[in-house]
């Protein structure tokens, strides 16, 4: 039923989600890290050495942290200026999306940097 014009409108509207993309990565990182922290503690992964004195628990948390930071960096790089002219509202969406992604990246690093040092299960 979708006409080409309607499909274009759907695509334009879907791009509104870009404004929330950065902090969605932050939210997913939060769920993943908090969830896996609980799972690891439940199964005693903090008492199992993985490599070079780093426990399985800390290693998996570090990997999750790195994956989400990398995703945040990729998003910010993908949205970086100059912003293409995409008609009314399009430029604005990219601008907001980019700066929200930068803010979210900083938030991810700040919120979860504790995985490097703090005791995981006590």
């Amino acid at each position: 039923m979708s006409s080409p014009a309607a499909k274009m409108a759907h695509g334009r509207n879907a791009r509104l989600l870009l404004m929330a993309a950065g902090f969605t990565i932050w939210a997913v990182a939060f769920i993943a890290l908090y969830g896996m922290l609980s799972v690891g503690c439940r199964f005693g992964w903090d008492r199992i050495d993985a490599v070079a004195g780093i426990s399985v628990q800390r290693l998996q948390l570090l990997v999750l942290f790195a994956v989400h930071v990398a995703a945040g960096v990729a998003l910010a790089v993908g949205l970086r200026p100059p912003f293409p002219r995409e008609g009314a509202g399009g430029h604005f969406v990219r601008w907001v999306g980019y700066w929200a992604a930068v803010a979210a990246l900083g938030s991810t690093v700040f919120s979860f940097a504790g995985v490097f040092a703090l005791t995981a299960c006590y």
Binding site: S2, R12, C41, G90, F92
Partner: protein
């Protein structure tokens, strides 16, 4: 279709539009669906509840004024402080913001009404009936008494055996329906129901705040609704979600409650911040500095506020690393909040500020809210939090944040927009002493609570010993609270004086530049005689000039047609007009639906469970009756909308507001379902008393058949739509969807019935509820499919008119996917339990 083409005469246009849009007099007032009428009713009702909450606060302050002044025992005192918090949070703050949003939003967006006027009315009735249940219970002496957060096990049936806790769980859930209805309404309205030309970057800043707040409500309220349902199931039927002796955990309640509870603080603050962002540019005589930066900041606040909830639980015994996550996020949220504050200061610095009464109240907001924010950062730090937890320091902090962040801005907003409501301006003789009494009384009351808190005074105690040395500080706090009350009384008197005796004015007394002032005041029921074409950011308008032009009918829809209540929808991003939205007329149906929903809640409250099924059926039937007469029995095609443009009526378009409403309802419902899965996982990971003696065993055949039925239901929904759009009858496909949903219900119920004793352990209870919940979703799918058949028989469906089936398809797909997840989740938890054994 005839067009009763209006003459350029604004008077004639007004009469024609008023005849369609006005709410009837007498009993007809109960049929109101108009946003201006309902917005005012929400605000007045919220203010009444505010007065009730304030009186309860006075009782609290009398009780603890000194160690010798206690006049009620701990049982009644528990009811008083519980009802104070409950009324202020659920019956005042949220509905007050909803009222402002309902009244203002269409006017800010250049539209004639909200997307779903009957939903607004239904939300209003749910709010009134739910609130009344709570107040009646209080008058009967059976009010909730476990604190506004209803912590288990205190609120469990063992320790609260009466109906006190049930009143809270059912009454508040009833009110939450209102809040979710408003959230869907606001989101869809902001995204779709705007004036042509109002692209996403031209919206008034308040619309951004309301959009983001409403989205937060969609994701923030479901965890509380789920928690309330689970706790009520535990209290009523013994399903042990929070009982640690049977595999439950009281911490699950705390997680579910604060997953809602902390975002709630920002849900209350952000609309008020939106109002601040509207008022400051007007009084600074300079457009808002950092419009885009503020939007980024509000998005950041919205997300970060969902990562703070555990700072209410820092003392329950959580690993250091987890504490660090929540502590960091709690501190971090101050940054985007500060961005907004600096943007307001910059706007004042860049402009030529002029003083008026709203600015006085905004000054109070800055002072009080910033102090509350700073103590918030203190409480975000774990070591300090451990010291101050559950003391009056926290009470002081939360009042600085909530009164500073909501009450002061809303009082400023009252003075700013009251001329819009009434068409009168005040000479403000009482507003200044009222402010100083409120401001002085507030700080006297709550600043000293920081000190009593630091001296160790705990919250929620009905008595304290004279040896503690807290008497003088508490007495001064109590005196301050009475000064504040006198100030609020003066504020009310001042509003009444303005409404009754204020000077009339023509329009726009503040020289504001936003669309809501481009209309006569008090506003007409249809808001705009014709709809504007927005060519710049919506806070850069010449409201006086635009208002006169629109009243003359020179914009869009400057005429009446077929007795329809018309407004326009736009493409979300570009603001190009894309649909003619035909709104429903005044009707009593929302009132009947509200009454039926209220009857259902009351049946549950008084444990008439079989009767409650009849009330539920009545409520569903009354909601289905809303669709009667909506849409058309013949294709209409594109119609003229003015300015040489045409648009199709919304039921002949692919994604009208009702389609989007279903998308956002599904998002909220999905959050509720995800919260249930989180609960099951949480209990398996953390709760004591695991594993249970045996894992549930759903078998193989029933689950496989169930997955087939769910898939078949989705196929039926899709096939029906495909058949209709190809010009064929969708009946067979819809019947397939009906039969498949029915089969899924039977199979899911059979699997649930196969669980021996769901009350024996939380593992069985979560599996039972997960399956029943999936069956309920299939029940709704059955209703949607049956509704499609009914609409087809009525002649409302055609190739062009497929909206009913497209909405149904969304639900059929969703219920199939989540039904399958539910079945697999039961298998997964059973496997986890089995492997742990």
């Amino acid at each position: 279709m005839s067009i009763e083409q209006a003459s350029p005469n604004p008077i004639r246009l007004h009469k024609e539009l008023a005849a369609l849009w006005d709410t009837p007099a007498g009993w007809g007032r109960l049929s109101a669906v108009n946003h201006t009428v309902l917005g005012k009713r929400f605000i007045v009702a919220a203010f009444v509840f505010f007065a009730i909450g304030g009186l309860l606060a006075m009782l609290i302050r009398v009780q603890i004024a000194t160690s010798q002044t206690a006049f009620v025992g701990p049982e009644i005192y528990g009811q008083i402080f519980t009802m104070h918090g409950t009324v202020m949070m659920f019956l005042f703050a949220i509905p007050m913001f909803e009222g402002f949003a309902i009244y203002l939003l269409p006017k800010l967006l250049g539209a004639r009404d909200l997307a779903f006027p009957r939903l607004t009315a239904y939300g209003f009735w749910c709010y009134i009936f739910g609130g009344s249940i709570l107040i009646c219970a209080m008058l009967a002496g059976v009010a909730p008494d476990s604190g506004w957060f209803m912590y288990t096990p205190l609120s469990s049936s063992t320790y609260t055996p009466g109906i006190n806790a049930d009143v809270w769980l059912l009454g508040i859930t009833f009110v939450e329906i209102s809040a979710l209805a408003a959230a869907v309404e606001i989101v869809v309205t902001v995204l779709k129901v705007r004036a042509p030309g109002m692209s996403i970057d031209r919206m008034p800043i308040m619309a951004w705040y309301l959009l983001i707040t409403a989205l937060m409500m969609l994701f923030g309220f479901p965890p509380l609704i789920l928690g309330s349902i689970l706790l009520e199931l535990e209290r009523a039927f013994g399903l042990p979600f929070f009982d640690p002796t049977r595999g439950g955990d009281s911490l699950l309640w705390q997680h579910l409650f604060w997953l809602f509870g902390h975002p709630e603080v920002y849900i209350i603050f952000l609309p008020a911040a939106g109002a601040v962002s509207m008022m400051i540019p007007t009084f600074a005589r300079h457009e808002l500095v950092g419009y885009r930066a503020i939007i980024v900041a509000v998005i950041a606040v919205a997300f970060l506020s969902f990562g703070l909830w555990v700072h209410h639980m820092f003392t329950v015994g959580i690993p250091h690393l987890a504490l660090a996550f929540f502590s960091a996020a709690s501190g971090l949220v101050a940054v985007p909040t500060a961005v907004q504050i600096f943007a307001w200061i910059a706007t004042l610095a860049q402009g030529r500020p002029r003083y008026d009464v709203p600015m006085l109240y905004l000054g109070g907001f800055f002072f009080v809210f910033v102090l509350g924010g700073l103590t918030g950062v203190m409480l975000a730090m774990v070591p300090f939090n451990w010291q101050a937890h559950d003391t009056h320091f926290v009470v002081a902090h939360l009042h600085y944040v909530l009164v500073g962040g909501f009450v002061f801005p809303m009082m400023a907003a009252a003075y700013y927009w009251l001329p819009h409501f009434t068409g009168r301006v005040s000479d403000h003789r009482l507003s200044v002493p009222a402010f100083w009494l409120i401001f002085g009384g507030f700080n006297l009351t709550f600043f000293l609570m920081h000190l009593t808190g630091l001296l160790g005074m705990p919250r929620r105690v009905a008595f304290y010993p004279v040896e503690a040395g807290w008497d003088w500080l508490n007495l001064i706090s109590s005196v301050g609270s009475f000064l504040m009350t006198i100030g609020f009384a003066l504020f009310v008197v001042d509003l009444v004086v303005q409404v009754r005796f204020g000077k009339a004015f023509r329009r726009n007394p503040w020289n504001a530049r936003t669309p809501e002032w481009a209309m006569p005041t008090p506003p007409t029921s249809y808001a705009f005689g014709s709809l504007p074409h927005i060519e710049d950011r919506a806070d850069r308008l010449d409201a006086d000039k635009l208002g006169a032009e629109l009243a003359g009918g020179s914009g869009y829809l400057g005429f009446t047609r077929n007795g329809w209540l018309e407004t326009l929808t736009v493409d979300m991003t570009s603001g190009r007009p894309d649909q003619l939205l035909v709104l429903p007329n005044q009707t009593f149906k929302p009132l009947w639906s509200g009454l039926a929903t209220g009857a259902f809640v009351l049946c549950l409250l008084f444990k008439f469970y079989w009767l409650s099924l009849a009330a539920l059926a009545l409520a569903v039937a009354s909601l289905l009756a809303w669709t009667q007469g909506m849409g058309a029995r013949e294709d209409v095609g594109a119609l003229p909308i003015g300015r040489g443009e045409v648009a199709a009526p919304h039921w002949e378009t692919e994604r009208p507001p009702s389609w989007w409403a279903m998308v956002f309802c599904i998002a909220a419902e999905g959050t509720l379902f995800a919260s249930l899965l989180f609960g099951a996982l949480f209990l398996w990971l953390v709760a004591p008393g695991w594993p249970p003696p045996d894992a549930v065993s759903p078998g193989t055949i029933l689950p496989v058949l169930c997955l087939v039925a769910l898939g078949s239901a989705a196929l039926g929904g899709r096939g029906a739509l495909a058949a209709l759009t190809a010009g064929n009858s969708p009946s067979v496909w819809l019947m397939l969807a009906c039969a498949s949903h029915l089969a899924a219900i039977v199979l899911l119920a059979s699997m649930a019935a196969g669980i021996d004793d769901p009350t024996a352990h939380a593992h069985y209870a979560t599996a039972f509820v997960t399956l029943i919940y999936a069956a309920v979703r299939s029940g709704l799918g059955l209703i949607f499919a049956g509704h499609g058949l009914w609409r087809e028989r009525g002649g409302y469906l055609s190739q062009a008119r497929s909206l009913d089936l497209r909405i149904g398809k969304l639900w059929h797909d969703y219920s199939a996917v989540t039904g399958a997840i539910a079945v697999l989740a039961v298998f997964a938890t059973a496997w986890l339990v089995g492997s742990a054994r």
